[in-house]
């Protein structure tokens, strides 16, 4: 069975190479339909024309065979054995070249046709006999011949032996009108069928487009998932496609599940390692002993290592995770409320602005990490004021997040340095010292960019570009 299918595919492919390949589905369906239609229509128009021709000619022949029958029933011989001119009452056979003719002839020894009597319409011309004469059956023979004035004639010939003389009765009629009729019929049928074919092809095209609509919808929706506007396929699909979308959704949630599991593992690992590190650090306290100093330095190093590798694991998990969107406003609100409270003694005021419908194309945790670290850094360095501005870029493909403070800022020469792992703006300031490099790593993972400028407020201005759009 399979073998036969392959052969069939091969045959189709050799006839039409694109059936094998990845040609458009619409194109394939329409090409197949077109082949079938064109073949069917050619057959139908040929058949119809042939049938019309046959029935018209048959009706047409009835006239001339009547004449032939009349000829031989009225044929009489006179005493001298000569054939008398039969009396036929048909006005048209009396008018010259009227298009209706008859002729009584006798065959000579060499079977040549010798005319004895002719209708007046023939004038002095003769009608030709058939090319092959069936002398046995006594049935009339119909054939086409050239008449006087080159008229195309349909003729009938009847061979009879009367009183042992080989007589051939011939009648003919101008068939040009019949030919014209048949031609016209073929033309009308042909054009009607072409119109039908074109109409049907258009209908098929529409049908295919509409029929395959769910497939195009699916493509659009998958695109939306890819670009992060949706996290799963939500559209309603016909039963033929529904299993595919179900599988895709299952795949998407599997991806999300894997990410969640990774994250839980990562969190557990962090928890498991960090409490012992806290113990070591607290134990060392601020003792001036060299051992305590070593412990302090080594724990800081271990913490940095743990953080770094946990982030790597997270980033790897993120790679399979697509389709999530995080509204900016609630995250900024939470972070502002929280950090203002943490830095309440300092009286930090975070003035943030973000369009309500702006959404980061990525995970909430990552956005919290990016904005949280930058904002915390600003809180540490500012005098009182922090200004946060999130705007959609002109191309509407990303957002620019500006975080400015009114602190002392930092020299331009250090802008790149602080993004390096473990670098710290000031060793004496609180904070992990990893914050900015974490942010830089995350921003890069999203194909974004982080750089620094001098703020109009006096301090540092962090500029972050991230993928985003409006909801």
């Amino acid at each position: 069975m399979a073998g036969r299918k392959v052969v069939a595919d091969g045959v189709i492919a050799s006839v039409w190479p694109s059936f094998r390949g990845r040609g458009s589905l619409v194109g394939r369906l329409i090409r197949l339909a077109a082949i079938w239609f064109i073949c069917a229509l050619i057959l139908i128009s040929a058949g119809l024309t042939a049938f019309f021709n046959y029935s018209t000619v048959t009706r047409f022949q009835a006239g001339i065979s009547d004449i032939v029958r009349n000829l031989y029933t009225h044929t009489e011989f006179d005493a001298g054995g000569r054939i008398e001119i039969p009396e036929l009452y048909n006005i048209r056979t009396d008018d010259i070249y009227s298009g209706l003719y008859w002729q009584i002839s006798e065959l000579d020894a060499a079977d040549r046709v010798v005319a004895i009597h002719r209708s007046a319409s023939l004038a002095e011309r003769e009608l030709k006999g058939p090319e092959k004469l069936d002398k046995t059956s006594g049935a009339p023979v119909y054939y086409n011949a050239q008449g006087p004035r080159n008229q195309p004639l349909r003729q009938v010939a009847l061979y009879l032996r009367i009183q042992d003389r080989p007589l051939l009765f011939i009648a003919g009629e101008d068939r040009s009108e019949v030919d014209r009729n048949v031609g016209q019929f073929a033309l009308i049928t042909g054009s009607a069928l072409i119109v039908l074919a074109l109409g049907s092809l258009a209908a098929i095209f529409l049908q295919v487009r509409i029929g395959l609509r769910p497939l195009f919808d699916l493509t659009d929706e998958l695109g939306a998932v890819r670009s992060g506007e949706k996290s799963r396929l939500e559209g309603r699909y016909p039963p033929e496609i529904a299993p595919v979308t179900e599988q895709i959704n299952a795949l998407l949630s599997y991806g999300q599940e894997v990410v969640e599991r990774q994250r839980t593992h990562v969190g557990n690992l962090a928890h498991a390692l960090k409490t012992p590190l806290s113990v070591l650090l607290t134990r060392a306290g601020d003792s001036p002993e060299p051992l305590a100093d070593t412990i302090r330095k080594q724990t800081a190093l271990m913490k940095a290592q743990v953080d770094h590798h946990l982030r790597r694991a997270r980033a790897a998990a993120r790679a399979q995770h697509m389709g999530e969107r995080t509204p900016v406003e609630p995250v900024m609100d939470e972070l502002a409320v929280m950090l203002e409270q943490v830095f309440r003694d300092k009286g930090v005021v975070i003035d943030w602005r973000a369009p309500e419908n702006l959404a980061f194309r990525g995970e909430k945790q990552d956005f919290q990490e990016i904005a949280g670290n930058l904002l915390e850094n600003a809180c540490i360095w500012c005098r009182k004021r922090i200004r946060v501005t999130a705007t959609l870029t002109h191309e509407a493909e990303g957002m620019t997040l500006l975080i400015e403070d009114d602190g002392p800022g930092m020299p331009e020469s250090r802008y790149d340095e602080v993004l390096k792992r473990g670098a710290r703006l000031d060793e004496s300031a609180p904070g992990s010292g990893l914050g900015l490099s974490i942010v830089d790593e995350l921003v890069r993972a999203y194909g974004g960019r982080l750089h620094f400028e001098r703020s109009a407020l006096g301090g540092l201005k962090a500029v972050v570009n991230l993928p985003a759009n409006f909801t």
Partner: protein, 226 residues
């Protein structure tokens, strides 16, 4: 100064307890969430140090219960999970400060001092407008008993409006009281903050008086209820 230390790791607890005692605090220790909740609920602590990864009941749930029961004791959370999502959920539950493990003991002590000092501010009258309550001392506000999470600018706005309860306040007046002098004041600032504030306290509580400004008012059923 009495302090509750809720931490499950015995080594860390022992060391912290001795450091805190050295610093002059009286320390109670709870090794799990259940005991932490019970102690925090019954004893009058000046501050609570709460590890989020506690056995039996996790730190965030313990904190949520305290806050639901109206406990206002300042809480410093300790977390090994340095992610911002964990910090944010801690603050949503009602934490006042956080510290990520591993930390230096001096830093913990500094944070503690700040929290205790903050909590001991001067008593100021509670502002009330219908279901809205604002405690200027703790800088906390609530609506129908639910704590509100306000940024400082939103808080300032609400505070000013509650001080001038049921009076129409012009936009200019609001801008002047919202910002210090050196802040830039763009024209739509007030609309932005009104929008956010309305989202948090309920749209109907702030009435826009066309051409004049805004007015804070209790809900109709709250008025008739009194």
């Amino acid at each position: 100064m009495r302090i509750l230390l809720a931490e499950d790791d015995p080594d860390l607890s022992r060391q912290l307890k001795s450091s805190l005692s050295d610093a002059g605090y009286v320390v109670d220790h709870a090794p799990d969430g259940e005991e932490a909740h019970f102690l925090g609920d019954t004893e009058p602590y000046d501050c609570i140090i709460l590890d989020l990864g506690l056995p039996k009941i996790d730190g965030v749930s313990v904190l949520e219960r305290w806050r639901r029961d109206g406990k206002a004791t300042p809480v410093l959370i300790l977390t090994a999970r340095g992610a911002w999502s964990d910090k944010v959920s801690g603050f949503d539950a009602g934490a006042d400060d956080y510290l990520t493990k591993p930390f230096h003991t001096e830093e913990l002590l500094a944070r503690l001092r700040a929290l205790v000092r903050r909590a001991a501010g001067h008593a100021q009258p509670l502002l009330v407008c219908g279901g809205l309550r604002l405690d200027p001392r703790a800088a906390r506000a609530s609506v129908n008993g639910e704590p509100l999470r306000l940024t400082s600018l939103e808080y300032r706005l609400l505070h000013y409006m509650m001080l001038h309860n049921e009076r129409v306040i012009s936009r200019i007046e609001l801008v002047e009281h919202l910002y210090d002098q050196d802040f830039d004041r763009d024209s739509n600032t007030i609309e932005v903050f009104m929008g956010r504030l309305r989202k948090k306290i309920g749209t109907e509580r702030i009435e826009t008086v066309r051409g004049l400004g805004y007015r804070l008012k209790p809900l109709p059923d709250e008025v008739s209820g009194i």
